[in-house]
């Protein structure tokens, strides 16, 4: 009742010509639904679904740039299985995703808990914390590249010349293991804000009265964290984890900008190897095969995160309505 009074008092008046067929058409729901979904579904079908299928097809051909190529069955995959660089890329990708995700979520959760305290300049701090996530990855990766420079690394300078912990500068990007960990650190650095801010939003929805009740029952700080914070944070954690694993697993920018897969192809991820083989190497079929082999991992990781960690249907809101 109130709402209708509001509307009639509102200065908007709906002028309407006597119903022509165009007006009728636009009020015909199926047509309207079709019209509204057309741009989105059109874009997604042409530039997402079709390329996805095309990519799977390309993986079974010997296409090169400029040549359509022919169906070669599983040749690309058979070759890749014996290719030590591909094996290392798969291994690197799994290692990179696992370590970086654990790091991101451990540190991000800690930061979210810190930001959930009553602290001065909270809004300002939250804004600053998000910066690494807002700035284009490639541009901050270039900053990391400079931080990891062999001769002029500021980290080496502090360790060698200020703290005197070592005598030589660290060769961050020149050797396989230091290079891998350098990339992981940069990835964690970039991922912390996303995790922290989403988990902070989750923390703020937990009612303080729960903690109050637990405190009255004599629960310790750890018990309150373990029994109240963690379970109530799980749904949002599961979604954040899924997205984070997906985007870390398919990461391209950071590795391409900092090491380009080097030294000696030891830091290639599957995405960077696919790019290297397909575009500069012009072996489209082989590149597509590498990209396609990411799909089972991605699907597996997504299912694991959603059902293993979440244990609740992902789309909580509309199912509980």
């Amino acid at each position: 009742m109130d709402a209708s009074v509001d509307i009639s008092a509102h200065p908007i008046s709906f002028t309407r010509k006597p119903d022509g067929w165009v007006t009728k058409l636009f009020d015909y729901k199926p047509f309207l639904v079709f019209l509204c979904l057309l741009p989105t579904l059109g874009l997604l079908l042409v530039f997402l679904t079709y390329p996805l299928g095309l990519g799977i097809w390309l993986a079974f051909t010997d296409s090169t740039i400029g040549q359509p190529g022919e169906f070669v069955g599983l040749d690309n995959f058979e070759y890749l299985l014996t290719d030590p660089i591909f094996q290392m890329a798969v291994w690197n990708t799994i290692f990179y995703t696992t370590v970086a995700t654990v790091g991101k979520f451990a540190l991000g959760l800690w930061l979210a808990l810190l930001l959930n305290h009553h602290i001065p300049f909270k809004a300002f701090l939250r804004a600053i914390v998000l910066l690494p996530w807002i700035v284009p990855t490639v541009l901050s990766a270039i900053a990391w590249w400079w931080i990891y420079s062999a001769q002029f690394s500021i980290v080496s300078y502090v360790i060698v010349d200020v703290l005197h912990l070592r005598t030589t500068y660290i060769n961050f990007l020149g050797e396989p293991w230091p290079a891998r960990f350098s990339l992981i650190v940069a990835n964690i650095w970039r991922g912390i804000p996303f995790v922290a801010i989403t988990l902070l939003a989750g923390l703020q929805t937990i009612s303080p009265s729960l903690y109050e009740a637990a405190l009255l029952d004599g629960a310790s700080g750890w018990q309150r964290f373990r029994r109240i914070t963690v379970p109530l944070l799980m749904p949002i954690l599961a979604v954040a984890l899924t997205l984070s694993v997906l985007f870390t697993f398919s990461d391209f920018q950071l590795v391409y900008a900092i090491t380009r897969g080097g030294p000696f192809n030891s830091t290639h991820l599957m995405a960077t190897l696919a790019f290297q083989r397909a575009i500069p190497g012009s072996q489209l079929g082989e590149g597509a095969a590498i990209a396609v082999s990411m799909i089972p991992f991605l699907v597996g990781a997504t299912l694991l995160c959603l059902y293993g960690v979440g244990r609740r249907k992902w789309q909580q809101g509309s199912d509980n309505d």
């Binding site: 908007i12 199926p30 741009p39 930061l111 009553h118 490639v138 405190l215 398919s250």
Partner: protein
């Protein structure tokens, strides 16, 4: 209870602090020293680590060459004789301004395209309530989970067939593949928060569906539109792999690609110019971000919650 909630949500003012002493988290054991060690010190470390690369980027961009490579004579954490030389080189001796304009154009165009189609799709899914709306919503969400790194190879061949290779239009058309799903989900959330009764009243008053969308729903969803718009803009400004794969000529490249492929030449890296380029390339996004921080936070958390 309400006091505590207010203390959590309101910006930190003096009053909040006076009140927050009553909150359950602040019992007697939570003394000043304990709080400093467990909260302020780790927080300060986090902020320092998260900001250091930007600080390092900024001061390097303003250092003259002789200072940049000499840590013995000049404290590397400070600029002793700041210079604009690096930025001058960037702006007048490379095509940097052009790359900036290209990136801006592509980002604006793909953002408009994405927001336009997302608004319609989100309205159809959330408000027209047709059968199967939830499934369409789920499919669009799944599209968000397809990473660009498995799509760029077939997309490259597709772009080639369309004759759009080395043409910025290719990027405007392909960026919506990851922008549209995100924006649609964000807007569905916003439309949900607008009372359906308002639309019903307008329907009774004789408005057509499109009139309702234009004159009732959209004006109420402006914060959501702003969120979706700035987010899409940021994502397209940051995009890298498509721009790297589909664009070849120097004058059509976007900023992130151009810095990596055009400024990195030979074995001697021009760190000063590289840092200046990264700094200037971050400025537009950082500016927008500083104006719309709250929208970013709400859209980021909103999209995950949905």
């Amino acid at each position: 209870m309400t006091d505590v909630l207010a203390a959590v949500t309101s910006p930190p003012t003096e009053a909040t602090f006076a009140r927050s002493n009553d909150a359950p988290e602040h019992l007697s054991w939570d003394s000043g020293l304990h709080r400093t060690v467990t909260v302020y010190v780790p927080l300060a470390l986090f902020v320092i680590v998260l900001l250091f690369p930007f600080y390092w980027m900024t001061i390097t961009a303003f250092k003259p060459d002789y200072e940049m490579y000499d840590y013995k004579q000049f404290n590397p954490f400070w600029v002793h004789s700041p210079t604009l030389h690096n930025i001058y080189v960037l702006l007048w001796e490379t095509q940097y301004p052009r790359w900036l304009m290209t990136t801006m154009g592509i980002a604006v165009a793909s953002t408009c395209l994405s927001v336009f189609s997302s608004v319609l799709a989100a309205y159809a899914i959330e408000r027209l309530r047709f059968r199967g709306a939830n499934h369409v919503g789920l499919l669009i969400y799944l599209a968000y989970m397809v990473p660009p790194s498995i799509l760029f190879i077939p997309l490259a061949t597709l772009i080639f067939q369309f004759g759009l290779f080395d043409n910025p239009i290719a990027l405007v058309l392909t960026y919506p593949t990851f922008l549209v799903p995100f924006c649609t989900w964000l807007l569905i959330g916003y439309f949900k928060s607008i009372p359906y009764e308002l639309e019903e009243c307008a329907l009774i008053d004789g408005a057509s569906r499109l009139q309702i969308l234009r004159r009732i729903t959209l004006p109420l969803a402006v914060p959501g539109l702003i969120s979706a718009g700035i987010f899409a803009f940021t994502l397209s400004w940051n995009e890298f792999i498509y721009a790297l794969a589909f664009i070849q000529s120097t004058d059509k490249k976007t900023v992130p690609v151009a810095i990596l492929t055009e400024l990195v030449t030979g074995d001697v890296y021009q760190w000063g110019a590289l840092m200046a380029g990264s700094l200037l390339g971050s400025v537009p996004v950082a500016l927008i971000y500083s104006f719309f921080v709250e929208y970013y936070v709400s859209s980021m958390t909103g999209a995950v919650k949905e």
